[in-house]
């Protein structure tokens, strides 16, 4: 087994006193893709935010432990967390607006983010970014670099957010519904890219999705959440083939299936 990068021990989260995530434990290893599935409101995004220390302090209480390479993230100062975020644990947000600044071009944001983490010239950053844009199926990578977010489509902005987090090459990538705004051809390309960094750079990917087709195509392990609780956790193929809990069965049955040529 590869190096263990992330370990959650009995993590519970309360928002304004209400339990939202209840006693979740999991581990994530280098080169592993762990999918978290569950209906909307089951606590998937909240769990990801807790890992990164991004929940609003006034409203949220997190109990339990979150170890990153043996260091408990819950004991980290805001400053230490800022250093870990992006560089050690990357995040692809569900709403790109959270990751992108509306009044600056994609290129200047990407360059600034990269330069804040490692020495890099603008030309080098651009070259790397354009290469990744091509892989993410952008028709005209150079135009994307020069555009403002409002000049791009929803799915383009989503892929810019993905490129932004990938360019920092973090050992762990948390991806919150990264293909929800994409047509299947672009979604396939994004998944292919996530699988590639998993296999070539041993990146650990924690992929939140409500799309079981995506889980089937990409995940090694699968955690199913229901009302903040883990109802199933194990090798993805096993869970999909022979789900133990009724909640997982319901989730699998609800997924719409494309009728193919009879």
């Amino acid at each position: 087994m590869n190096e263990e990068l992330l370990r959650l021990q009995s993590v519970s989260i309360f928002m304004e006193g209400e339990p939202v995530v209840d006693d979740i434990s999991l581990t994530l290893h280098a080169g592993e893709m762990l999918a978290i599935a569950g209906e909307s409101g089951s606590g998937k995004s909240t769990l990801l935010r807790a890992i990164l220390g991004l929940l609003p302090k006034e409203r949220a209480t997190v109990t339990g432990n979150i170890f990153f390479r043996g260091q408990n993230l819950k004991d980290c100062s805001p400053r230490e967390l800022r250093r870990i975020r992006g560089e050690q644990i990357g995040m692809i947000f569900q709403h790109t607006e959270e990751a992108l600044c509306p009044v600056r071009t994609v290129g200047s944001q990407l360059y600034e983010t990269i330069a804040a983490h490692r020495r890099c010239t603008r030309a080098k950053a651009k070259q790397e970014a354009l290469k990744l844009f091509d892989l993410l199926r952008f028709p005209d990578a150079a135009r994307i670099w020069n555009s403002y977010p409002f000049e791009l489509s929803g799915g383009m902005n989503q892929r810019v957010g993905i490129a932004l987090s990938m360019l920092l090459h973090p050992p762990i990538l948390l991806a919150d519904e990264p293909t929800s705004a994409l047509d299947v051809t672009a979604a396939r390309q994004v998944l292919r890219q996530l699988l590639q960094i998993r296999d070539e750079q041993q990146t650990a990917v924690l992929l939140v999705t409500h799309d079981l087709g995506v889980v089937r195509a990409a995940a090694d392990t699968l955690l199913v959440l229901k009302d903040g609780r883990a109802v199933e956790y194990g090798p993805a193929a096993d869970v999909l083939e022979s789900p133990q809990s009724d909640d997982t069965k319901a989730l699998l049955q609800a997924a719409p299936i494309l009728r193919r040529k009879p």
């Binding site: 047509d183 079981l212 319901a250």
Partner: protein
């Protein structure tokens, strides 16, 4: 059936300082009948949302005509656009985007009613009615967007869109952020509302299985153009354009 919306040779170009001219929508023509559900699928960046913004006159077309219920609305300005805005409403992917995070759902749903001169009591009565039509209890009027689930918020966004009694809804990936169970519930709700109110739908969606289940007819867009048009089964069982073939093959 007579067309409710008819679009002819619609074109939109954008100027960008460094990249020059981009044609996002290139000579598109189609029509939508009363009570019909027309799906639009297509590659990310192919011009679907731009088309929606053109039709609803949020942005000005570079060329072409838009006929709404037989009237040319292509060049209308200012006050003359108000009935156009009322007849066509949008529902977006992120339901919370339809609401101000600091105000209640009830405030959001009633906003257009109050602006059009409804009394407070009348607005409240209608908001309750709209919520009920969308399967939500009266209590939801007092909740804030972050206090409800994605599915509930999307129901409230639909209630908001219906407040001005529109004839047509444009759903721009309105179900993409929802899980499968909630997607089905929202589609059933849209179906029922369509029957009750004789609504026409333009349904932009990248989930082919949902399009197959929900739409009467589908347009496939690629690079700003319509590359294929037909019933869902026509298109999904016998795709003719390269992009549609790729799309059907890539589907999970």
């Amino acid at each position: 059936m007579k067309p409710y919306l008819s679009v002819q040779h619609l074109t939109k170009t954008f100027e960008q300082k460094k990249s020059g001219t981009l044609t996002a929508v290139q000579g598109i023509s189609f029509s939508l009948c009363c009570g019909e559900t027309l799906g639009i699928v297509g590659e990310s960046g192919s011009g679907k949302s731009t088309l929606a913004r053109l039709i609803t006159r949020r942005i000005d077309p570079t060329g072409g005509t838009i006929l709404l219920d037989g009237a040319d609305i292509t060049r209308l300005k200012g006050k003359a656009l108000r009935p156009v805005y009322r007849s066509m409403q949008m529902v977006f992917q992120h339901p919370a985007a339809s609401f101000d995070p600091r105000r209640t759902l009830g405030d959001g749903i009633g906003e257009s009613l109050r602006l059009s001169g409804c009394s407070k009591a009348e607005t409240q009565r209608r908001v309750t009615r709209l919520l009920a039509d969308c399967g939500l209890s009266e209590a939801f009027a007092r909740r804030y967007p972050h206090e409800v689930s994605g599915g509930e918020c999307q129901r409230a966004a639909i209630a908001r869109a219906l407040a001005g009694d529109p004839a047509m809804l444009i759903c721009d990936e309105a179900t993409s952020a929802l899980d499968a169970t909630v997607q089905q519930q929202i589609l059933s709700l849209l179906r029922r509302l369509q029957k009750e109110r004789h609504l026409s739908y333009l349904f932009i969606c990248h989930n082919l299985a949902l399009v197959q289940f929900f739409c009467d007819r589908v347009l496939v867009m690629h690079d700003g153009r319509i590359v294929e048009e037909g019933t869902p089964d026509d298109i999904l069982f016998h795709p003719t354009s390269d992009y549609t073939k790729e799309l059907v093959e890539a589907a999970f």
